[in-house]
Each structure stands twice: as structure tokens, then as C-alpha cells.
């Protein structure tokens, strides 16, 4: 059992949770994820690590409540426990193992969309701690949906904000900001890292391809085990089928078949919608009905 140490609502339906998981905290690296289960009846949900503190033995995750399982996780309060919290899974971001000298000479641009801001944060923070200031573009629907802006500002080089309605920062899409930076401001980047909704990552990839800018994306495929055992998370990268959970989650964006990846994400949509309806009808505050969640 993994105790919830802290919980805050960052924006509407986006929650931050700090969880006591000492083993995960001391092994986690930027780019990795965990598999979380709320209770004995819950699904195994992959969530990217948003922060970790080995000394405190804590790992922070940020969750958007979209389905039954994410709602169940977020319904738990500090002091209560998650049934499972397994990780860190996946490969760490490539730059973690790069030569620091070379890395320091690189200009890196991060593009974060919505709740994707959370997994971008530990990467930018890690780089800052190693003497690399990366630029960050954060995109959100509107000002209220922006998360972790202040934390990000503290570790980023330049921070650019884009909202769909212009309620904060630039009015428009993150891809327009990328074009603006490169074309109008004459910025040069050696690497772009984009994390957010699949559709955003797809369009960032299309944009950066025009500039020959190497781009990495972190895929949020469907998963079951997260250890390479089921193949639910398979994606096509460069025409080859790979498993997101063990070969990724980060891949070369220009090789990913995004259309297939988006279609595969919808594999259980009908079942999920039905489950959500049942859960809503059953009124708030789901309890594991077989009583194994004590």
C-alpha cells in the first residue's frame, strides 16, 4: 500500500498527488512512468512521473480525471493509500545518459500540452540541475487550465505560454509558437521534446519536420502490465512494431505512426464510456464492492 502524502487540484479536473513510494523515488529518472491502481478492483493506469524526491521517498504524479479509474484514484485523500504504485517503468529520457559537456552545448525546446506539462517538468528540472537551461512552451485551453507554471518558470530558460483563447500569453497553438520562435526570432534548437495529447504531438512533429529539428515525444499508449508482457501498448515506429512500455515511452516523433497510435488508444472507448456512466449513476464515492480495499 502506498500512502498519499499530499493532494491538490491544480486546475479543473487535474490533480497533483504526492505518494510515498521510496523504492520508486530512489530509482526514478526523467521520462519514466509508474503504473497505479486505486484499489483491488481498479485498472492498472500508467502515469508519467512528475517529480520525485529520493530523500523524502516520495513520487509526484499529476492526473487528469477522465474515466472511472482516474476518478477513483483522485477520490482518495491524503492519509489514504493506493493499492499499487509500480515503477519506475520505461526507459529514461535519452539525454540523461548523454555526455554532459555535449549536452551543455545543446539548445533544447520543450513543448508541453495540458496535463503533459507535468512530465515535462522533471526533465527541465533535471537539465537545470545539470547546467542546461531549456526553453519551454506550455499550451493549454485557457488560463485556468495552466498548471505548474511557477515551478516551470524557476527551472526553464525562456517560458512561453500559449492558450486557445488568449486568456494568458500567446493566443493560439503551440505549433504557431514554435514557428514564431524559429522563423521570426531566428532561434536555433538542436532538440525538441513534446509531451501532451497525441494530436498535439502529431502536429508538433509535422511542424518540426519542416525545420529538420529532431523531436522526441512521450507516448501515452494503453497499457496493462507496463513491463513488456501483453503488447497492448504496441505502436509503429519507423515501420516497426515496438512496445511503448519497454522500448519507450519516448520515441523519435518523426518515425511514429500517430494515426495508428490514436486509433489504438480508442480500443476500449465504448467499454470505458459505459463504465463511466455506470459509475456516475452509482453516485459519487466509489467503494471497491468486494471489500478488498481495506
Amino acid at each position: 500500500m502506498y500512502k498519499i502524502l499530499e493532494k491538490r487540484e491544480l486546475a479543473s479536473a487535474i490533480w497533483l498527488m504526492k505518494v510515498h513510494a521510496p523504492r520508486v523515488a530512489s530509482s526514478a529518472r526523467p521520462g519514466q512512468f509508474v503504473i497505479v491502481r486505486a484499489d483491488e478492483c481498479g485498472e492498472r493506469i500508467p502515469l508519467t512521473v512528475a517529480d520525485y524526491d529520493a530523500r523524502e521517498g516520495s513520487v509526484t504524479i499529476v492526473i487528469q480525471t477522465i474515466g472511472v479509474s482516474t476518478k477513483k484514484i483522485c477520490a482518495l485523500d491524503p492519509g489514504q493509500c493506493l493499492a499499487d504504485f509500480a515503477g519506475p517503468l520505461g526507459r529514461p529520457s535519452e539525454f540523461v545518459s548523454e555526455d554532459l559537456q555535449t549536452l551543455r552545448g545543446k539548445k533544447i525546446l520543450f513543448v508541453a500540452g495540458g496535463v503533459g506539462t507535468a512530465p515535462v517538468y522533471p526533465q527541465v528540472k533535471w537539465l537545470a540541475e545539470h547546467g542546461v537551461r531549456a526553453d519551454v512552451i506550455v499550451g493549454a485551453k485557457n488560463r485556468d487550465m495552466l498548471i505548474m507554471t511557477e515551478q516551470m518558470r524557476a527551472v526553464a530558460g525562456n517560458l512561453y505560454i500559449a492558450t486557445d483563447d488568449g486568456s494568458e500569453g500567446f493566443k493560439g497553438l503551440v505549433t504557431e509558437v514554435i514557428r514564431h520562435l524559429i522563423e521570426q526570432q531566428g532561434r536555433h534548437y538542436d532538440l525538441c521534446v513534446a509531451i501532451g495529447p497525441m494530436i498535439m504531438m502529431k502536429f508538433v512533429a509535422l511542424t518540426t519536420r519542416d525545420y529538420g529539428l529532431k523531436t522526441i515525444v512521450s507516448l501515452n499508449s494503453l497499457m496493462v502490465d507496463g513491463t513488456g508482457m501483453c503488447g497492448a501498448c504496441r505502436v509503429s515506429v519507423g515501420g516497426k512494431t515496438v512496445f511503448t512500455c519497454v522500448d519507450g515511452p519516448e520515441f523519435d516523433a518523426h518515425l511514429v505512426d500517430f494515426d495508428e497510435a490514436m486509433r489504438r488508444q480508442g480500443m476500449y472507448r465504448t467499454q470505458e464510456q459505459r463504465a463511466l456512466k455506470i459509475a456516475e449513476e452509482r453516485a459519487a464515492g466509489h467503494k471497491c464492492r468486494i471489500g478488498l480495499d481495506k
Binding site: 523504492r23 520508486v24 530509482s27 491502481r37 478492483c41 481498479g42 485498472e43 492498472r44 472511472v68 479509474s69 477513483k72 493499492a83 499499487d84 504504485f85 509500480a86 515503477g87 519506475p88 517503468l89 496493462v224 502490465d225 513491463t227 513488456g228 508482457m229 501483453c230 503488447g231 497492448a232 504496441r234 505502436v235 509503429s236 512494431t241 519497454v246 495508428e260 486509433r263 489504438r264 480508442g266 480500443m267 476500449y268 467499454q271 470505458e272 463504465a275 471497491c288 464492492r289 468486494i290
Partner: protein, 461 residues
Amino acid sequence: MANKIARVPVREQDPQKRAANFEEVCYGYDIEEARKEASRCLNCKKPRCVEQCPVSIQIPRFISQVLQGDFAAASRTIAEDSSLPSVCGRVCPQETQCEGACILGIKGEPVAIGKLERFVGDWALEHPSPAGQTPPSNGHKVAVIGSGPSGLACASDLARMGYRVKIFEALHKVGGVLEYGIPEFRLPKERIVAASVENVKRLGVEFETDTIVGRTVTIDSLLEEEGYQAVFIGSGAGLPRFMGIPGENLNGVVSANEFLTRANLMKAYDSRYDTPIYVGRRVVVVGGGNVAMDAVRTAKRLGAEAFIVYRRSEAELPARVEEVHHARQEGIEFRMLTNPTEILGTEQGWVRGIRCVRMTLGEPDQSGRRSPVVVEGSEFEIECDVVIMALGTSPNPLIAATTAGLDTDRRGCVVADGQGVTSRPGVFAGGDAVTGAATVILAMGAGRKAARAIDEYIRNK
């Protein structure tokens, strides 16, 4: 050598009924039936059955103890060589092992050794012996990776020798394939698997779930930082194979591992669980082993019309004979000598069918089975909305990739000798991680052998 008493038939759930539920198919023998069946055994001087048992259980001895009604003694006899009789009695391929060799099988039906073993195992689970004295701790710690049959067997034996043993398991539940792969209707989870695990716990073995060796911890950190003197790798062969044919990434194509994990480990068939599963109306399962049979029968139970597509013929089906028989009774359709060449999709990218070719059998291959050859121009389509790939599995490369000095072979199997000794001192391995996908009894046996080798290694250290 004929025997006057016919093999005692075993009671089973009605095929029509059971094709719609997940309760166990086979009820097993009661005391009377077991003793009657035991009376058929000739108690051979040179028992052929024992020779064919991978762990050499003293079969005629335990059977004669059943006949005398001394089930505790029978249980002790089996325990000398096997730690999972309730499981193996249910899932061993008896027809190619003990029962396949039984002398009575030459002219008639062999003794129902598997059913008797199951009877004794279940009796023992229902009559746990008063907590035996576990020997005092010898102060040494051993880490076991994976809680499948090999890990459980290795841990039990080491605990009995006085070691402090902890099993590290990647999943949230222990049992390995017994928990996530083999379905409830063949191997009840609470009554048999959990009870067998409970026995291991009673010996003082500790379990740590949600711990992925190679990620959460490493073999090096266990040996160097956590004070373990040896490690046993019993991580199985969990990596699913796909065919590499067009259409395999369509929505509706899943590995048997995914399908069975959702159904068994994640209890998708039980409405109290949140697990989604996509069953469709017509399911094609590709493969002919136990995994394929389990997947197809699970699909049937979840309401689909279910088919097996297998490239060889009935005689080559690697599944247990009993499972094939049960599958047929339950209305599973078999399309033999058929091989998929492409999975067909709708415009939206969902499976709508599978294109196959007919096969014929050619020359025997290395495994001695006649290898299938394509019949030219025999293409045809089967309409379906789900395709489940049950083509076999290989060991997960994670542990090998994160452990320096651990040799693996071409197929990714950890290289270990008959005692479980690997290329790295202090690291032992057994079960599917070494052999590739095999059987419960072999994994169990390998775990026990490795326990002896680990004991020897630590004593001589």
C-alpha cells in the same frame, strides 16, 4: 496386464452450462472414487510412470497410500518431489508424462495419476498440517525474482533450510502464470493458487509485489546494497510473439497474454472490477497450445463465437489432450491446417476478418513434428472482429539487459546448467526464464534444484 476395473470417470460440469461461466470444469474425485481408482494401480516393481515424471514423484507409493486411505502419508510422499500437487494434478500434460507411460495404458486406460495427484493435493490444502517447525534462521538472505511455480518452489525449499527468503514480483498479485495466464475454470485462484501461496508464506517467505527487477531494483542492488547472498531468477517467459503479418496492429488484435491477463489477473469477467475487455462477436485464436485453448475458451465464456486457427493438424496440437477435448465439448470450432496471412480491417481500423491459406503437412522438422507447407492458391477469409495471437512467448529481456555478466542465448533465455547455475556467481535461474515457455512441473522442479545449488553455494562461500 489388463485390469478388471475400468478407469473411474471424473465428474465434470455440464459443457453447455460451463461454456457460459468461469467455475471449474472438472470436479475431481471424492474419497471413494479416489480409492477405487487407486486400486487399479499394479504397484509395478519398475514403475514406468515414475521414469516419465519430470520430478520422479514416487507414484505407486502415493497411490497405494491413497488406497489405504492414508492421505496425509500420500501427501508427504508427493511433497518429497513436488510442492504444487493441486496445481500439477490439474495442468500437467499427463498423457505425455506419467500416464502416457503407465503399463495399463498399453491395453486399456492408464491409471488416472493426475486426478489422484490432484485429489491428494486438494486434500492437503483442506487439511493443513499444524504449523511445522521452520528451522531457525541461518542468517542468510536469498532474493527470488518472480512468484511463478519456479520462484515459489525455490523459495519454499530455501525457507525450509533456514534461509530468509523474499520474492520480488513485478505484478500486483503473486502466482505468475498460475494467476495471470491459466483461467479460473481450469485452476481456481482462491481455492488453489492463493492457498498454495499461503503455504509458502507460512514457511516465512516474504513477498514484495509491484517490484520490477531491472527497474525498481536491480540484481546488483539486491546483492550489493540489500544484503542478499544469492538471487534466483524465476521470471518466466512473458514476452508475447506476434506473426509480423499485415494488419496486426488493427484494433481488435490482441496477444493471448493481454486477453488472459485482463480476464484472469484483472477479472474482466467479473462486473465488480473496472477492467475493460473487448470480446466482439466472432473471435479467432491463432495457435494450438494450452494458451490458445485457454484464450478461446475464455472468449466463448464471455459470449463470443470462438474459433481456433492452427497451421498443423489435430495430432500436432501441443495443448493438453483434456483441454482440446473440453474445448470441443464447449462448442469451440477448430480450423486445422490453416495459417493466417493477413488481418483485414474496416476503414476505421477495426478487425473485420482474417485471410488464411490452407496448409498440408510435409517432412518432420527438428521437433519431430511434420512441418506445415502452404497449399498454393488456397486463400480464403474468415469473418471475425477479434483476433487473439497465441503463438508462444519468450523471456522478457529486462533482467538480462540490466545485469552485467549474465549470459543469455539467441532466444533471450538465461543460460543455466541443470542445477540453475548461471554465468554470474551468486545468480541462479530456472523455469521458463531458462527453457523458454514450458510447463509448470518443469519450472517447479528447476526451482527446487536451484534451491539446493544456492544452499551449496552459500555454504561454500
